[in-house]
Structures are given as C-alpha cells and as structure tokens.
C-alpha cells in the first residue's frame, strides 16, 4: 500500500467571521473510492479546494501524496470542480488536449488520448465541435474526460453527478468504476446518498463545516442497526406511541398511503418486535416493511431531520449559513 493520496489534519477555513470548515481530519487511502457527503454548504467544496491547494487552510495541514499540495504532485490529480466551465470557443478535442498538456502530457499523446476518450464515450463525431455548440450534457462529459485524460492517480470529483441526466449519471458511475479498476484512488463529493451507496468503500460525512462520520459503509449502517418502515393513517403519532416501548421512530418522506415512518431497531430486537409493539400501541397500520438502514437515515440520525432536509434542497444550507 503506497502513501495515502490525501491526508487532512485539523484543517480549518474561515471567511471573515464565518467558519466554512472546522477542524477537519480524514484521509483517503490509496486504491479506495471515498464519498464525501453532506448537504450543500456543508463545507465539502471548500475542503476539496484546500485539499488541492487552491486555497490554504487557516489552521491545520493538508498532505497530497505525503507533501503539501503543489503543481508537481497536482499533476497526479484529476479535478472536476463543482462549478463546471470550459472555454466555449475551443473544440471538444482541443479542450481535452489542452488540459492534458497542462498536466504534463506531450502534444501528440494528449491529442491521441483526447481522440481515444471521445471515441470511447460516443462523442467521436463531435471532436471538432466547439463547446458552445455542444449540449450541456455533452459539455459536462467533455469536462469529465478532461479530468481523466492524463490518467491521474487520484481523482477528486466535486458533485460529479449534478446536472447529469440518469443515463449520463450511469455512464459516469461506470467511468468511476473503470478508473478505480485502472488503479486510481477516487474522492467524490455528493449530496445524493444513493451514489455513495453504490460506489464507495468509505464515506466522510460533513454538516455545517464539521465531520460527523468517517468510516466504511458497513460502519455507517451499524450506527443505526436495522429498521423498518411503517405506514400509518394520517395524523397518528407513531413516535409517541412507540417511545414507551423502547423504539425510536422518525418521519420519512416516502410517498404512499398515509404517513410513513422509519423505526430504528436496537440491537437484539427484530422486525417482528416492532410490528408487535405498533399493534399493541393501537397504530392504524397501512403498510409494514423491514429494511436495512440507508445512508440518508444514518445522516438523519447523526445530524437531525432539519439538517438532513438540506440534502434534498440545493442551496438551503448555504442560505442558512449566510443568515
């Protein structure tokens, strides 16, 4: 196992009186896919920019491949920023070639690699098309390919799935898996937990600039244990009914008849115990389904429902912070 591509130790970043990231420590071991999770405004992008040396931490340290980020070790990194943008008058091939050359590739290698990537992703016939003439999805694909072109050892992707349609999201997931199989270490941020559940070996969860969880997916699920989803008639307070029986229930946003609740099951107690307790409490049950915990539920349990709601409302946390 080589040196960890990224180690952050006590990194803190402030903008005036506002603390965007507070005392953040985590590492990204070589060869893993790590999800960096949290709602918008949690401090993910700021953390990633510190990781890349785009901005320096006010406190703490960042080590990229064991040393402070600089242009030399950044050549081993491919970075996809959250705010996408390319030179609109450049062609797709020239764009990929240009960014690959900035990462140290020769002109001939960069051009060949651009052709290879464009052909492989179905953009072959748009090689000579200006970015301004491409659809938004195609332009995003070109930017992702620019990130991969120089075959980086470490990929940092900031909200890579945002703005992509479901088909392109799947294509990107496949690309991430392919890069991982090639040997690349991958750190990507997202506020959509499902992507992390499908891709990650490890996750780091952020809320309000602080790390709230750092570990494997299994460890994350274990923080909750098993659970069950119970739909009851509208207006029935299941949380209040189950609390005396030692179960904790949270409202869920599931669509369906009545109100949906997720009930956490303490260790040693099973789905049948929940169902029995609910019936004994006189709950008007419309549906019942035992289930494994989801990352979103883990996040809810760690930071509370109000904070977790920001996962589904882009920009909500940012506004809250600004206020």
């Amino acid at each position: 196992m080589g040196v960890a591509p990224l180690v952050m130790s006590g990194a803190t970043k402030r903008f005036g009186a506002f603390t965007a990231v507070s005392n953040l420590s985590f590492d990204v071991p070589a060869g893993q896919i790590v999800g960096f999770l949290g709602p918008n405004g949690a401090g993910k992008s700021t953390s990633l920019r510190m990781a890349l040396g785009v901005m320096a931490p006010d406190e703490g340290e960042v080590a990229l491949f064991g040393v402070k980020p600089d242009i030399r070790n950044l050549r081993r990194v491919g970075f996809l920023p959250e705010e996408r943008g390319l030179y609109k008058k450049m062609t797709a091939r020239d764009t990929i070639t240009y960014f690959a050359r900035l990462k140290g590739m020769t002109a001939a290698d960069a051009k060949a690699r651009a052709n290879e990537l464009l052909d492989a992703t179905g953009l072959g016939k748009f090689k000579a098309t200006r970015i301004s003439k491409l659809s938004k999805g195609m332009a995003q694909k070109v930017q992702i390919l620019s990130t991969l072109a120089h075959r980086p050892d470490f990929l940092i992707l900031d909200e890579p799935f945002s703005g992509l349609d479901p088909m392109n999201q799947q294509t990107l997931e496949d690309l991430i898996r392919a890069e991982h199989q090639r040997g690349a270490t991958i750190l990507f941020s997202t506020h959509v937990m499902e992507h992390a559940e499908r891709l990650c070996d490890r996750i780091v969860m952020m809320a309000r600039g602080r790390k709230v969880f750092d570990g494997t997916l299994e460890a994350a699920y274990e923080t909750l244990g098993q659970g069950a989803r119970i739909a009851v008639e509208h207006g029935f307070d299941l949380a209040g009914a189950l609390a005396p029986k030692g179960f904790e229930a949270h409202r869920a946003a599931d669509k369906g008849p009545g109100d949906s609740w997720r009930v956490d099951m303490p260790k040693g107690r099973g789905a049948q115990d929940v169902l029995r307790a609910a019936l004994e409490a006189g709950a008007p049950i419309l549906g019942f389904q035992p289930e494994e915990a989801r990352l979103r539920d883990v996040f809810v349990a760690l930071v509370g429902e109000a904070e977790a709601a920001a996962l589904d409302v882009p920009g909500a946390a940012t506004e809250a912070e600004a206020a």
Binding site: A17, A20, L52, I71, E83, Y87, Y98, K103
Partner: protein, 463 residues
C-alpha cells in the same frame, strides 16, 4: 515556462482566431488606402467650373487670373521637384496635366446679378473651353469700387473666393507700393534682404558632430523617436484594456479558474495571459508598422531625398542610449498597467460590470497622455521632471526625457523606481486576482481588500 507557454498559446490563438482581430488588423491599412484613394478620387473627379468677373477695367479679372497662374506655377514646380527627386523624367505637358485648372474665367454673359441669376442657377449656359456650362460663380464690383461681391449657389467650395481674396490683397499692396513710388517687387526685395536665423546646437566635446553644429533632422530625430515610443506604449496599454477585461471575465464566468489553478501556478497563469495580450497587440501594431515601413521603403527606394530623411530616425531608433532605457520602460510599463487591468477584470462577473470600470480606467490612462503632450512640446519642463517620478507616469516620461540627456543617476533611479513599483503592483494584482478568481470577490470587495492588505481590518471575502 512550459505552462506559461501553454497558457500564452491558448489565449493568443483564442484572440487571433476571432473575427474582431482580423477586422482590427485590416482596419488601419484599409483606412489609409481608402482615405488616400478617396482623396485622389475627390481631387481628380472635381469638375471644371466657370466663373465670370463683372468690372469695367479688367484689372480685377486679370489679378484673379494671375493668382491662379501663380498657384499653378507653384504646383508645377513642386511636381517637377518631386519627379526629379524620384529620378523620373516628366514633360512639361505631363506636369501641367498633373495640376489641371479647375476654375476657368469666361466672359460675363450679363452685368447685373439679376441678369446673371439664370446662368448661376443653371437655367442658361455659357460657352467656354470645356464646352457649354452653367456659371459656378460671378464677381461683381460694387458701384464706386468699394467691394467685390462673390455670388455663387455653392458657398461651400471656397477655393475661388480665397483665390480672389489673395489676388485683391496683392493688388492692393501693388497699388499702395506704386502710389508710394516703389516698384511692385519692392516687398520681395525686402524679404530677400532679411537676416537669416539659423539654429545651432551646442555640443559637448565628447559628442560627435559630423555635420557641424547646425541643427539637422539628426538632432530632432531622437525626440521624435522617443515621442513615438511613448505614444506607442500608451496606445498598447490602451489597446489591452478590453482584451484583459474580456478574457478574464470569460474565465471567471466559465468557472475555469479552479481547473486551471490545479494545473498551473497563479503567477504562471498571469504571465501567460499578459504575454498573450502583449503578443496580440504587438502583432497588430507590428503589422501596421510593416505596412508603414513597406510604404516608406518603397518611397525611399524611389527617392534618395526620402532615404536621407529616414536615416536619422533609424540611427536614433538603434541608439542603445535611447533604446535600452526605452525598452525597459516599455516592458515595465506594460506589465504595470497590464497587471492592474487584469486584476480589476478578475473582479467582474459580466461585461456590463466591466464597462463601469472602463471610465475610471480611461481617466487613469488620460493622465499619462496629458503628460506625454506636455513633454512632447517642452521636454525640459520642470513639470515633466517632477511628474516622471510618479510611478504611473515614469514609463512614458522617462522615454521622453532620454533625448534631453538627464543625469545618469536619474535614469537609473527612475528605472529602479519603476521596477520596484511594478513588482509591488504585480504582487498586489496577484492578491486581487486570487481573491477574484478563487474566492469570487467582486468590485465591492476591493476597498475591503485594500484595507485588509494595510492591516486595517481582517479579510472578509466570502466564498
């Protein structure tokens, strides 16, 4: 260096691939060609016009005719001299054809303005050497001979009127001289007897004076070359504003900075961009210069006199004593102003926002322009001496002061001042650029940044 080259190359190609660049490149030569062609066409297509003089003696008519004859003789002599300079043989007929008479006197068809009216309005024509035509104008001597009236339907063409005024002035002088018992050529003799005033320049013993002490073009050429260089620098700085503003806005609005800054260092990015804009404006100006140079070379090859005229300028432009400080001033001045404009551009999100910056930038640039004007007219002015110590003016004014042989310590001190100022400006501009590009700071944050840099309050640029 490789990254600077890549940034430079992309930006440069981005600019030169745009239509606007080629339009700008073609505009100046095209304007000169069209302007010259238009002037030639206007002169050659000017019609032959008839005029008549109504006065009984014929003296006034003769005087106006004599004035035209004098003008023609002057033009013919100039044409012949030019032909001789260019070593081209031309006949007297060819000389006459090069300066054709455009106003021809014809016999007056009537003696009052009422009777002349149909001829002037084109309802009737008069016969003349160029066929039958309407009268363009008529001169009528008032009763008593107190004034000469000029009548025409087109008062915008004033050549004939001015020729008549000159003729009347000469006629008046001649009559006055004759009345005083002097010959008509008396004033010419007087002018010829005036003492000539010749300009000399006192040279130091070390200074070569191949042509003696008399002031020649070789003495004036350094100041003219210095003035041209200073103006060229100003023009270049003026030209880059738009490129730097628009280029930076494109990158900021396209959100490319983060990607770029993980591949290149910020100073490399700035250097590449500044070099690209420098190359674009240099390409443009060199192309124009080549156009002018080619024209001059052609003229010089045709005329030894033209070559003699150009020689002192070439000598001045290749004199290390002028060109080295001038080039240093030029480069530092370009970087100084370029860094300021690029930093300001990084704070703008939209073209509209940038346009609000253009006015203060223009005012900032007009200040050195005023100084250039003053220095050009009076290079030894104390105002210029003092102003040349103001860092924003130094690049322009040091160039202009060089031909005045300022003390060496002043040249070195001002070059040092420029270097230090440029380094400080680049340092500050890098900070502002980083704040704009990385932290998304806007124009409104500029004051806060300055205060922060001066330690007056903590930086509060929000991400």
């Amino acid at each position: 260096m490789r990254n600077i080259y890549l940034i430079f190359r992309r930006d440069f190609l981005g600019y030169v691939k745009a239509w606007g660049f080629w339009l700008s490149l073609a505009a100046v030569p095209l304007f000169l060609v069209i302007g010259a062609g238009f002037g030639y066409f206007a002169a050659s297509s000017s019609p032959v016009r008839y005029y008549a003089v109504v006065e009984p003696s014929g003296v006034i008519a003769g005087a106006i005719e004599a004035e035209f004859a004098r003008s023609e003789a002057r033009a013919a002599a100039e044409t012949a001299a030019l032909a001789a300079d260019m070593q081209v043989e031309v006949s007297s007929d060819q000389v006459a054809a090069a300066t054709p008479r455009k106003f021809i006197q014809v016999a007056a068809p009537a003696t009052t303005i009422e009777d002349l009216r149909p001829y002037l309005l084109g309802e009737k024509t008069v016969a003349g050497p160029d066929g039958d035509k309407a009268l363009f104008a008529a001169f009528l001597l008032t009763e008593g001979g107190g004034a000469l009236q000029y009548w025409s339907t087109d008062v915008n063409v004033t050549t004939l009127q001015y020729a008549a005024e000159t003729a009347m002035r000469d006629l008046g002088r001649r009559d006055a001289l004759l009345a005083a018992g002097l010959s008509a050529d008396f004033l010419k003799h007087v002018d010829g007897a005036a003492l000539p005033v010749t300009a000399f320049r006192l040279r130091s013993e070390a200074e070569p004076a191949d042509g003696g002490s008399e002031v020649t073009m070789a003495d004036k050429a350094p100041a003219i070359v210095a003035g041209a260089l200073a103006y060229f620098l100003w023009l270049m700085v003026f030209s880059i504003i738009q490129y730097l503003l628009m280029g930076t806005i494109e990158e900021r609005s396209n959100k490319i900075f983060d990607t770029l800054l993980t591949s290149v260092k910020l100073p490399e990015l700035l250097a590449g961009k500044l070099l690209a804009v420098f190359a674009v404006t240099s390409t443009m100006m060199l192309s124009w210069g080549l156009f002018a140079g080619a024209g001059s070379a052609i003229a010089a090859s045709q005329s030894p006199a033209m070559m003699e005229m150009i020689d002192p300028f070439i000598a001045a432009a290749t004199n290390p004593g002028l060109i080295i400080p001038a080039l240093v001033s030029f480069m530092l001045g370009y970087v100084l102003y370029g860094a300021i404009f690029m930093a300001l551009g990084s704070l703008c999100d939209t073209i509209q926002e940038a346009q609000t910056l253009l006015s203060p930038m223009m005012i900032l640039l007009m200040l050195p322009m005023f100084a250039i004007f003053i220095a050009f007219n009076d290079p030894g002015s104390p105002v210029i001496d003092y102003a040349s110590w103001v860092p924003l003016f130094t690049p322009f004014l040091l160039i202009l002061r060089i031909p005045q042989d300022p003390p060496l310590w002043e040249i070195l001190a001002q070059m040092g001042l420029m270097a230090v100022t440029t380094a400080l400006i680049v340092w500050g501009a890098t900070k502002v650029y980083r704040a704009g590009a990385v932290h998304g700071a806007g124009i409104g944050d500029l004051v806060g940044m300055v205060k922060s840099a001066m330690g007056m309050k903590p930086k509060a640029v929000k991400e």
